[in-house]
Amino acid sequence: MSEPREANGSTVPEAQTGPDGHVAIAAEAFPAAITARSLSDDAWDDLRRSPVFWISITIAVLMMMIAVAPQWFSAVNARTAECSLRDSLAGPSSGHWFGFDKQGCDVFARTIYGARASVLVGVASMVLSGVVALVIGLLAGFYGGWVDAVFARFTDIVLGLPLLLGTVVVARALAARELGIWPVVLALGLLGWPPAARVIRSSVITARQQDYVQAARVLGAGNARLMLRHILPNAIAPTIVVLVISLGIFISAEATLSFLGVGARNTISWGADIAEAQRWIRQASHPLLFPAGFLSLTVLAFIMLGDAVREAFDPRLR
């Protein structure tokens, strides 16, 4: 066995031979500028400087907190509060910032308590559709061939059913069973996965052809290990982006379904409140504008957040 130190010692000043005979090069041997920087480091650097990212993530986190603990944000509990018709459609005042709706309920309290339905449905549908998309995208992208073809036809069928129409049918059919938000979650999750699955599939195809994946295969890694340890981590950034955007879309869809009257019953929700307020807009518009504003802000926050993260992770835009 030849001595590697003789070959390398003169060119790289601080090279050392490790116990297994490999040459280990001390990091100090290189100027700081070429230390390894991953794409995610660069992306984080970009994101930290983006005002859109900070604004949207603040709104998103705030809405999540309102959804989890509405009692921290509103002194009036909209679920138990007595509404008095004496206050019907009264405008905003110092004690009641958003005024009252037709039934005389406090609009601010209802708007705060309405966040939970939207955010919960959004997150649950995102998780469900994410799992479906991950399984289908991963298998279709990894195996290709007939597996891919079968999934492609299946995706076509689901895509042929526009999200809103499909969920209307499912949510309506299940409405009589008093299952709360779950029919809507099920419908959105089972019909909303194709965009995410397509993104995952194409990034899996890109990752699959990389040399390191071939190397792992040659070293004897099985398909499951290749997919989960080597390919998935490299497909995760675009997946997160598309899922964050889909969270915004699902929140919007939930509100639209409540607006149409097929959402969860006996639940305070922005969509249902907007639908109710729309009937009385000739008398007063504030019961409509406040929940509409909160809903739009939430949806916008998630879509902008996804957009900002995508721009940071897309090297072509640098």
Partner: protein, 308 residues
């Protein structure tokens, strides 16, 4: 080319059978009691029960029910609403309004969206570009029913520029506000799409060639870049025409337009199951057919697609 069309036609057929089957199965299987699914929480009289059972062949195996439904669809026999009106009559009456609304919307999208997108693409990074990008992102983020109800409140009720609900005596003018609301989302997407395509095409080699030949910038953008940039935009607009029909459910509902979407909106509120299933099926069919036509158009415009 004919190979491509046949292949796409077969794919569409599979998708149509698949989607209608899913709709039908969801409607009748998931709810346990199919009659409940059709009528919602309304109590049904025994004669209505018999009528609905007969209409949907509910006493037969599921796959036969579906077969009868497809046969009805093919022969134009769509059954009756819960109230007893033939659904085909309801639809025939509603169609023209939805088509007028959708056409006006798509006109607005083309007339405003393409020029705005071209300008934003030419001045990439400039003030106009930044403003259109921000505005379009905001429009994409706001749910269409919020756009509809808020603009109804603002422009119709508060400012009085439009009527808050559909007034047939106004003719096309009655559709102005609803068609803007309906078209805004497509407008935002069309602007972004045109912008990206124009900005990318401006960097292409043929633009440099044209410049060095001494062509004016106006001619390069107006003839060469525009023609190449419009391929993705045209296909988008085609697909969007189908998608507008879905947006019409909300828009027509808000503005009380008695079109297909408005009927579906009412059908959902009145828990009229037969009407909902029929309209959903027909909208799915329209959506698939427009997608097919667009794919064929795409292949005509861009030879790379059909030789893939």
């Amino acid at each position: 080319m004919s190979h491509y069309i046949i292949r796409r036609l077969l794919q569409m057929l599979v998708a149509f059978v698949g989607t209608t089957f899913i709709v039908y199965a969801l409607m009748f299987k998931i709810a346990g009691d199919p009659l409940q699914a059709l009528a919602g929480e309304k109590p049904l009289s025994p004669s209505q029960r018999i009528q609905l059972t007969e209409q949907y062949h509910l006493d037969r195996p599921f796959i036969i029910q579906y077969g009868f439904y497809m046969k009805g669809l093919a022969t134009g026999n769509l059954g009756r609403t819960i109230a007893g009106r033939p659904i085909a009559d309801v639809l025939a009456e509603a169609w023209p309004r939805t088509i007028e609304l959708a056409l006006l919307s798509i006109t607005i999208v083309i007339v405003l969206g393409i020029p705005a997108g071209v300008l934003a693409g030419m001045w990439r990074g400039g003030a106009f570009d930044t403003i259109t990008l921000t505005l379009s992102l905001i429009v994409i983020g706001i749910p269409i029913f919020v756009l509809g109800t808020v603009s109804q409140t603002l422009f119709a009720v508060r400012l009085g520029w439009f009527r808050p609900s559909y007034a047939p005596e106004l003719g096309v003018a009655a559709y102005i506000l609803p068609s803007i609301v309906l078209g805004l989302l497509s407008l935002a997407t069309a602007v972004r799409l045109t912008r990206t395509a124009v900005a990318e095409n401006l960097k292409a080699d043929y633009v440099r060639t044209a410049l060095s030949k001494g062509l004016t910038r106006r001619r390069i953008v107006g003839i060469h870049v525009l023609r190449n940039s419009l391929i993705p935009v045209i296909t988008f607009l085609g697909t969007e025409l189908g998608a507008l029909m879905m947006g019409a459910v909300v828009t027509e509902g808000i503005f009380n337009i008695p079109g297909i979407g408005g009927r579906l909106f009412q059908g959902i509120r009145l828990e009229d199951g037969p009407l909902v299933v029929s309209i959903v099926t027909i909208l799915v069919l329209i959506y698939l057919v427009t997608n097919l036509l667009v794919d064929i158009l795409y292949a005509v415009l861009d030879p790379r697609i059909r030789h893939e």
